[in-house]
């Protein structure tokens, strides 16, 4: 049903329709509305689930781990500090191959404290073995959750659905919230296999000495790589059932004839599309490659799509301090070294700590890279705030 609804509410409603059995979360801005809504959905009986109010994010993740290991479909949501606090458990969940779904309402990491949006938090856990899907808008955020449960349960890999905090979570947009029957037809009931059950005793969480650990990591890596098939298929099936495109590996916009290609992910993509349309009117040919699945990284798709593009600019809301753009590195790595082509890949860091990214900023960015490649630049940096010695 189409509603004008806050992003968080949409996510909460959709998640509730996915019939999770155990929900446990610790409130943290800007995820609070999601968990509050789920609490009232459970409270008024619309959803028959256990809602566990825990005392920290660490415990929230642990409760969800325990529940999933016991055979329940489990869900939680967090962001920023909370995600970092529970990082131990995040890695643990991946290692145990538990099909858990999280919503990450992307937010900046302190210090300094910031409650506003950027993607440093989910970036910090990109190596943990979780599938990371980024939502462009609230519709996609809602849809990705339905897909996420299916992907997780088929690949035995946990999934993070990343949506930009405040920008998406607190924005009111028209969202088609599917009804229960539709969701049920798409997402079958959870049939767990590897659970703790006194009838068939199993041990979960054994420790692996050097004889075995390497192989477990190999298996996990290969599982991530192979999940590409599932991610794509689920997205296609979703389109068939619900009638709209959502999720998948990558999406492109006006890429065919583009001279400059912008690569980005998350809500920024919307602004970029608007700019591309404007520039098209002005005669400039700029295209967009939108990364939907950040992990596993769509390396082959990036290469195949951009084989013949020579001017690429990556704009991202994250940074690896001391090294540079993270998404930019991933993109650069997608092109093989032996390929002797004169390709420019520029890296821009934008929007950290919730800094507004305007179309003008992006326009300047495009104009810059048309002239020459940029190694690393912070978009919209206010030099007047920076002391000479810190430059």
């Amino acid at each position: 049903m189409l509603k004008q609804i806050e992003g968080s509410h949409a996510v909460a409603e959709v998640v509730a329709k996915c019939r999770p059995n155990v929900i446990s979360a610790y409130p943290i801005t800007p995820q609070t509305h999601i968990v509050e809504d789920l609490a009232s959905i459970v409270g008024n009986g619309e959803l028959d689930a256990e809602y566990v109010n825990v005392e920290s994010e660490f415990s929230a993740a642990s409760v969800v781990l325990g529940a999933s290991a016991a055979g329940a479909r489990a869900y939680s949501a967090t962001t920023s500090q909370g995600l970092l606090l529970m990082s131990e458990v995040i890695y643990c969940i991946a290692g145990m191959r538990l099909p858990i779904v999280f919503t990450i309402a992307n937010r900046a990491i302190s210090a300094p404290l910031s409650i506003w949006n950027d993607q440093q938090d989910s970036m910090a856990l990109r190596d943990s073995g979780w599938i990371q899907l980024h939502a462009e808008d609230n519709q996609e955020a809602a849809d990705l959750h339905i897909q996420a449960f299916k992907i997780a349960e088929e690949t035995h890999l946990p999934v993070m659905v990343c949506m930009d905090g405040f920008i998406l979570t607190h924005a009111f947009e028209p969202v088609d919230v599917p009804d229960q029957k539709q969701v049920d037809s798409f997402l079958p009931p959870f049939q767990p296999t590897n659970i703790v059950d006194p009838r068939w005793p199993r041990g979960i969480g054994l420790f692996a000495d050097p004889r075995f650990y390497l192989e477990t990591r190999y298996i996990l890596h290969r599982a991530m790589e192979k999940s590409e098939k599932t991610i794509k298929k689920v997205s296609q099936d979703f389109a068939k059932t619900f009638g709209r495109d959502s999720g998948g590996f990558i999406k492109t916009y006006k890429l065919k004839k583009a001279d400059v290609v912008i690569i980005s992910m998350g809500s920024l993509v919307g602004t970029i599309k608007d700019l591309i349309d404007q520039l098209e009117d002005e005669g400039k040919k700029v295209g967009l490659l939108q990364i939907c699945s950040y992990r596993p990284f769509p390396r082959k798709e990036v290469y195949n799509t951009l084989k013949n593009k020579m001017n690429i600019v990556v704009v991202e809301k994250s940074i690896s301090l001391g090294r540079g753009g993270i998404l930019a590195s991933d993109v650069r790595w997608s092109f093989p070294r032996h390929e002797k082509k004169d390709r420019n890949i520029s890296s821009f860091i934008a929007g950290l700590g919730g800094r507004n990214i305007t179309k003008n900023d992006l326009r300047h960015m495009v104009e810059k890279v048309e002239k020459e490649p940029v190694e690393l630049e912070f978009l919209g940096l206010k030099k007047e705030l920076i002391a000479k010695k810190d430059l």
């Binding site: 290692g95 145990m96 191959r97 068939w200 199993r202 979960i204 054994l206 298996i219």
Partner: protein, 550 residues
């Protein structure tokens, strides 16, 4: 190698456990030890065995069979044995020793009441053995030989069998009908008995040596020895043995008003107490003090309870008679000086301390000797029969045991020697060299872990009131409560043998102690035992020991 499962999640039912037994440097083993009670018993009884059966299965019959494996006289010994087992009992160091003697009596009485029968181990064989004397040694030897299938004939000089058990122990300590039943039970194994035959007088020993494959001498020390004082030939002067035999054969003795017993041994105590029951005022005259008296403490105490006077430091000098019958003794006071050859303080008469003690009867319980009448045999110091370590005398094929060999000892020792002699006789006849089975080491109280026990009061048998006792010759101690005996047997620590407490089973951190499905005993699973030693430390009966790993 198995492929790694998803998420390293393992099916626990398929696990092959890791064998941690390879870590060990010490390993536990079950070692049976000899309990000090068994070790102290002169008859070699398996005391722990029958007590555990009483405690656990509450089965008197099985207990009787265990006890009569070595001792065919449980009812008798349960009344007369001085129970050195109780002196050795490890429980003595925790609270009080077990009342083993009472338990033995209860078992023996049960056997008699229910007419339990001895069983032969081997069916009849052709060899014949002659046993001379039907005292405890002789009957024990005959019993063991008969069980092994030998044809045994006992030659008894008296008119009835029993030896000192019959004629030396008064019936208030041990009733005759009890003894008769136990003897009959032994004879039922097919032993021939001929009474009123004194070997050496009626039949020469050599004849028996020729007719039989072996001979056992259980002569006892039944000849009373009196002290050499003037006037000892007067009437109503008896040796201790004589006096007791008279009473035990039913002949009445007129003891008069006053009776004096000379001597400090068990015989003296018995004589005094018999005389008391016959109506006399009795005093015991002994030249040293109570400390030096060889009689068993319990018997001295009981004599004192029965108001018998003890005159210590007193020695008779002369017996005074009137018209041939004794009327009193002249005694002198003694003082104790440095020890003499026997190790006891040497009594020396005090000059001028003579006194007259009136006595209508004088009983001199001052020693016993073997009656060698007609028997030529090598002796030790011309007193006791010489035997080698196999209880064989200097004569080929002639064995001996009991008081005649060991000196004035107990019924239990005689029974034990009779059993040993039977074993030696069997070896002699078969031409085997007797091999000594190594006895497991004795376990003492410091090696036990008594933490699991609470102090419990020991069972005390009740005696009939003194005035009732003195009225006649009925048993002093009436029948014992069978259930109380079960409770008392339950106090047994089972030193040196597992009694299924389950400590080792429950305490092993590695579950390396398993209960065998076939035997029901606890076994060690050496695949997993790490040798920590908790089982050995917590075993209350010292059945587990840690030894070096092979």
């Amino acid at each position: 190698m198995e492929k790694l499962p998803l998420g390293l999640v393992m099916e626990l039912r398929n696990v092959v456990p890791y064998k941690t037994g390879s870590w060990r440097t010490l390993m536990p083993i079950n070692v049976m030890h000899t309990p000090p009670c068994n070790h102290a018993c002169p008859a070699g009884n398996d005391i722990r065995g029958f007590l555990r059966v009483l405690a656990e299965s509450k089965d008197y019959e099985q207990a009787w069979h265990i006890l009569t494996r070595t001792n065919p006289f449980p009812a008798v010994c349960g009344r007369v044995c001085p129970h050195p087992c109780e002196g050795g009992c490890n429980r003595r160091d925790f609270d009080e020793p077990l009342a083993i003697n009472c338990a033995e009596r209860a078992v023996g009485d049960f056997g008699l009441e229910n007419n339990l029968q001895h069983k032969k181990l081997i069916d009849t064989r052709k060899e014949k053995v002659a046993v001379i004397g039907s005292g405890p040694a002789g009957l024990s030897c005959a019993f063991h030989l008969a069980k092994r299938g030998f044809q045994v004939k006992i030659y008894e000089a008296n008119s009835e069998p029993g030896g000192m058990m019959r004629f030396g122990i008064p019936s208030y300590r041990q009733p005759n009908y009890i003894l008769k039943q136990e003897i009959d039970n032994i004879l039922r194994l097919g032993i021939e008995l001929e009474c009123n035959v004194k070997v050496g007088v009626n039949i020469p020993l050599d004849q028996l040596r020729n007719e039989y494959d072996a001979v056992f001498l259980g002569l006892g020390a039944q000849k009373g020895v009196s002290i050499d004082v003037p006037g000892k030939d007067a009437e109503n002067v008896f040796t201790g043995v004589e006096f007791l035999k008279q009473i035990n054969t039913g002949k009445w003795v007129d003891v008069g008003n006053d009776a004096v017993v000379i001597g400090g041994g068990n015989t003296a105590m018995d004589c005094a107490r018999v005389a008391k029951r016959l109506g006399a005022n009795v005093s015991i005259v002994y030249r040293r003090t109570r400390m030096e008296m060889p009689a068993i403490t319990a018997e001295i105490d009981e004599a004192m309870e029965e108001r018998i006077m003890f005159r210590y430091h007193t020695n008779p000098v002369k017996l005074i008679a009137d018209e041939g019958r004794v009327v009193g003794l002249l005694c002198v006071q003694m003082e104790l000086k440095e020890p003499d050859a026997s190790g006891r303080a040497r009594p020396v008469p005090i000059k001028g301390s003579e006194a007259f003690i009136p006595a209508d009867t004088v009983i001199m319980a001052t020693g016993q000797a073997v009656d060698y009448d007609g028997i030529e045999i090598q002796t030790v110091d011309r007193k006791w029969i010489y035997t080698n370590e196999n209880l064989m005398t200097d004569m080929e094929g002639v064995f001996a045991g009991g008081d005649a060999v060991a000196g004035l000892e107990t019924v239990s020792l005689a029974i034990g020697q009779g059993a040993r002699a039977a074993s030696a006789i069997e070896d002699y006849i078969e031409g085997n060299v007797e091999s000594e089975l190594a006895q497991p080491p004795v376990v003492f109280s410091r090696e036990l872990n008594t933490y699991y026990y609470q102090p419990v009061k020991r069972y005390e048998k009740e005696a009939r009131p003194i005035h009732m006792r003195l009225k006649g010759f009925k048993e002093i101690y009436p029948n014992l409560d069978r259930d109380d005996i079960f409770a008392e047997a339950g106090r047994c620590f089972s030193c040196g043998l597992c009694f299924d407490c389950g400590n080792c089973y429950m305490y092993c951190p590695d579950n390396a102690v398993k209960k065998s499905k076939t035997t029901g005993f606890y076994e060690f699973d050496y695949d997993f035992c790490k040798g920590c030693g908790l089982c050995a430390k917590e075993c209350p009966c010292h059945y587990i020991q840690m030894t070096l790993e092979k």
